[in-house]
Every structure is written in C-alpha cells, then in structure tokens.
Amino acid sequence: MLLLIQYTLIFASVLLLVALGGCISEHSGVINLGLEGIMVIGALGGALVMRSLGTTSAFVMVLVAMLAAILAGMLYSCLLGIAAIHFKADQTLVGTAMNLLATAAATVLVKAMNTATNPDNHSSEIEYVTARKMFIVNINGFEFNWFMLVAIIAVVLVYFLLYKNRLGLRLMACGEHPQAAASVGISVYKMRWTGVLISGALGGLGGLCYILAGVSIWKFENGVAGFGFLALAVMIFGQWKPTRIAVAALIFGLFRALSNTYTGFPFLVSMNLPGNVYNMMPYIVCLIVLAFTSKASRAPKAEGIPYDKGTR
C-alpha cells in the first residue's frame, strides 16, 4: 500500500509538472504537442549532469540536475517557439516532429558517448544509481522524492502566475484574443515566447522526474512512453486550471502506479490478468475520461492559431 502511494505521488508529480507546462503554453495560445520530446531532452540534460558530476553533496546534485533539465527543456522548446510564433507553422506538425527528433537525437548522442568511452558499448543507456539516491529521502520505508515537493511548489507558482499577476493575465489574453491584447499594447510575440519557454522548463523538469521515478538506469531509445500526451490529457481533464490539474494528475498517477505495484495486491493478482492490461490502464482511463470531459471544453479560444496581426 505504501508502495502504491509512493508511486502514485511520483507519477502524479511527473504528470503535474508537464501538464502545468502545457497549460501555460496553451494559455498563451500555442499548443505544445512537443512536450513528449521536451521531456526526453530534459531527462537527457539531467541524466548527463548526474553522470558527470560524480561525487558531490546531495543538495548540489539535486539542484544542478534540475537546473540542467530546465535549461535543456527551455532550449529545446525554442524549436517550437521559432516555428509556431514567427513562421506560422502548423503546431501539430512541429510538435510531432519534435517528439520524433528528441528520441532519435537522444539515442544518437548517448550511443555516441557510450561508444566513445567504451568501443564495445553500443547501448543507449545512462546509469545514475548514486545520483538517484540523492533525490530520495527514506521515511520509514516511504521513499520521499524531492520532486514531489517541487511539483507542489510548481502548482502554487503557476496559480499565482496565472491569476494573481499582471504577466499571467496578459499571457492568457494572448491565448483568448491576441489581436485584442495587441490593441492595448501587449506584445503577443513576447507573451507567447514566455508561455513556450515556461512550458519547456516544466516539461524538462518533468522528464527528469520521470526517469528518476522507478529506475536508476534509463534507455533513451524508449523515449518517455507517451507521458507527454498523458500530461496533455491531464491538462484537458483539469480544464486548463492549475488546481484541477493537480487533482487530475493524482488520479492518472494512481492508474500508472498500479502497473508497477499490482503484484503486491492479492485480489489483483488473483484476477490473473496479463501484466499488459495494467500497462494499458492509464491510456484506457485517459480515453474514457476524455470522452466524458472534452465536450464542455474550456480551451483557450485562440490556441493553435498562428498570430496574424492583420486579422480581426
């Protein structure tokens, strides 16, 4: 039971961070379908730092790895920013390209690095056993991960940013009616860049959190198994509102956690379902939930539409 709570919280943290990223980006008017790719790159940035730092204090390790993930995510999100904000590109297409590119590029880079250190090593894996321990505080068998705290802080920050702050209100105006926002002197480009970069930072952080969730070795060929998209579903279920997103993330986190821990529950084991059923669970739940919640969608009105100064 404790294990289930632990996994639920850590997966919820991943989903929460990434979904908040998606939420801010969409409020500024850019659909960020590249979150999956941003997660991979953020994870890569964090993993590389964890491997190269070697022995340091836990505080430095946690801080530097998180900063690296944030930075990597922000840099990568620039690909979306440039294409979607300045070149009026199709945001779905660009996001998809970013997802494919991230996995391919991460695989190529990690393999090249592994091969450079050891010519016989052609794997795309990075190991971070000692570093992972530094993220975790063991409380009576419950593994508290610092990311759980980070996720809670992120909800509070995003809430204040969006609703209690001039910047947030301006940002949301650009997602609802950019031309109106521009008419009162708000720079739509600047606001959309802010949205995209923040989503990059949160996405990158979520990516690092994801690879630290259950394992201490990561194979970059696998990407992040659709978690970026699950996060978008969490965001839709949360109706683009930070507090609701937090609740939604917990629900989805629970179903994802079941696939890691179902063997610990006698009544689940006695049902004798194949393990793949539990692997499918989060995606099935996601579909069902979306089917019931998407009708009354509170999506920002201008999301996904390239900003054109001339239209009204």
């Binding site: 590119l101 590029a105 190529v108 696998n222 579903a233 998407s294």
Partner: protein, 366 residues
Amino acid sequence: MRKVMKNAAVQAFLASILCILLGLLIGYIVLLFINPKGAWESILNIIKNFFTWSRPSSQIKQLGNTMAKTMPLILCSLSILFAYKVGLFNIGAAGQYVAGSCACLYAALAWGWGWLPCMLFAVITAALLGAVSGFLKAYCNVNEVISGIMLNWISLYTANTILANVKETASPYTLYLNKENPGSMLPTAGLDGLFNGNTNVTIAVPIAIITAIVIWFILSKTKLGYELKATGNNKNAAKYAGMAQNRNIILTLVISGALAGLGASLLYQTGYMRWECTQSSVPSMGFNGIAAAFLGGLHPIGAIFSSFFIQHITDGGQYVNTNFYSSQISDVISSVIIYLCGFVLFIKLTMNKLITKSEEKKGAKQ
C-alpha cells in the same frame, strides 16, 4: 521561368528538395560533431543505401528489400495525408498499423487463413480502430491527436498480448509465415525475378501504387473527396452547405485507418519482418508516414516518391560506420525533415513574394 516558378506543384517540389537538403546537412553536422573522421563517408553511405554494395546483383537485391518496406510506408503516408486533407491529424495511424499487423499475423498463424482474407481482416480491424478515434472526435470533441496516441499504446500492448500466443517458444518473435502457413503470404507474381530473386518483393508493389492513384482520384475527382476537403477547409461552412460533418469525420478516419491497416498487411505478409512480442515502443512506420506525407507535398503521387526516399535513407542508416555512429542518425534526418516541412508555407510565401517583386520591377521598367 517565372511562370514555371508560380506553379504550385513546382513550388511544392522545390520546397521538399530544400527540406531534404537541409535535413541531410543537419544530419551531416551532427555526425561531424560526434566524430569528424568518418562523417562524410557515413552520410554518403546513408544517401547511397543499396549502392554501397559493390556487385550489381546484390545492389538490386537490396533495392528489393527497400522496396518491400517502402510499400507499407506509402500506405501509412496516404493514411496521414488523407486525414490531413480533411483537417485531421491522424497520428493514430501508427496504432492502426499495429492493429492491422496484429490482425493479419494472428489470422495467418492461428487460423491458417489465406492471404486475401488476412489482408481484408487487417484492413477492417484497423478501420474499426480509426472509427473509434473518429467517433470520439465527432461526438465527444476529443482531440484526435491525443486519442490517437492513447490508442497507439493500447493497441501495442494488446498486440503484444495477442501475438504472444503465436510466437516461437525460444524467442519473442512470431512464428515464420513461410513455415507455418505459406498460403498467407502475398504472391510474388513474378516480381521477385526483377529483383534478383528477392521474394520480399510481392504484389504489394502494384497494390500500393494503385491505392495511391485511387486515393488521388477520390480526393480530387469525386463528390465525396470534395465534401471531405470542404469539411477540412472550413467545417462551419461545410455544415452550412448541408454536409454531414460528423459522418465525414468518422468516415475519414475509417478510410485513414483502413489504409494504415493495409500497409501493415503489405509488410508482415511478405514474411520480411516478424512481430516482436516484447517490443516496448510503437513501430516507427506510422510516424515515418507523417514525414513521407508532408515531404510529398501532401499529394498521393508525391507520397510514392517521398516514401521511397524516406525508406531509402532509413535503410541507409545501417551503412554508417558503427564504430562511431548509430543507425538512428537516419531517424534524426527524417525528423528534421518533418520539422522543416512546417516551414513549407513560409517558403512558398517567400517564393511568391520574390516573384511578385521581380514582376513589379519588370513592369516598372516597361
């Protein structure tokens, strides 16, 4: 000259060539960055693909292998572009492809069906999966990209579970079609003779090309195609004009799914590839279809050539110098190409601007 440049098809072709060149350039830079020594040779090998073999007879045999994998890719890119013309981004094509693979392999190995029933079964299964996405989009307003991704994973795990019943005991791969049920394999109809006896080349080749032509015909010459495109351009206007919007959305995704399912059958029923029941990621064929669709200028006939090119460099990836690089460099190149395709609209606008400018200059002189 200007007249030629104004032609939309010429512009689309030039834009695609530009995307390819930039994609290859970026791939080359990545290789240089990893290790400058073998970069040029490796990028050349990617471009050469089967030409890296020295004997013409092996070259043509390898060309056959590339052809065998190009056909499913053509179908996947047709699937993507057909939906895209109707304003739907069917990223679920990857999952529909998985469903098709699962259906035709299971029917062939467990039930011993012939090749045609297996193929039809794959098409129907994939079409049904497409219908799920379409239904969710039409009646529940679920974004087709997100439902598509979810269905991709659901179908992957389902296929792994189902096909585990017909796998070899010692390996995670499904049984050999040619040993268990030769009747389920696509006939070669003499085409293997053209490729130095490569039996991976089958009637899949004419099937894929004919399908591309049929899709082109449906989209540009029929009432159905016109209605679907109208729905894609402006769904409110289409609704106002009395077109059944919900029916069109579902129908589009059904056709799109059927195409992806046919693609799966065209690969797995050649016996060239076997399903790995432990694979943890969705096969890349459906995603490469996105690259091929956009690179082909979203034209069914263009998709034939762009699919061949994408498959050509993907296969070429295995000829890089593996002492330094990995074959995934081709995936990097093709995903960069997809990314650059996002700029095609901008490239075309710039071209038109330049043309108008030079025309104005000419007019001013006169």
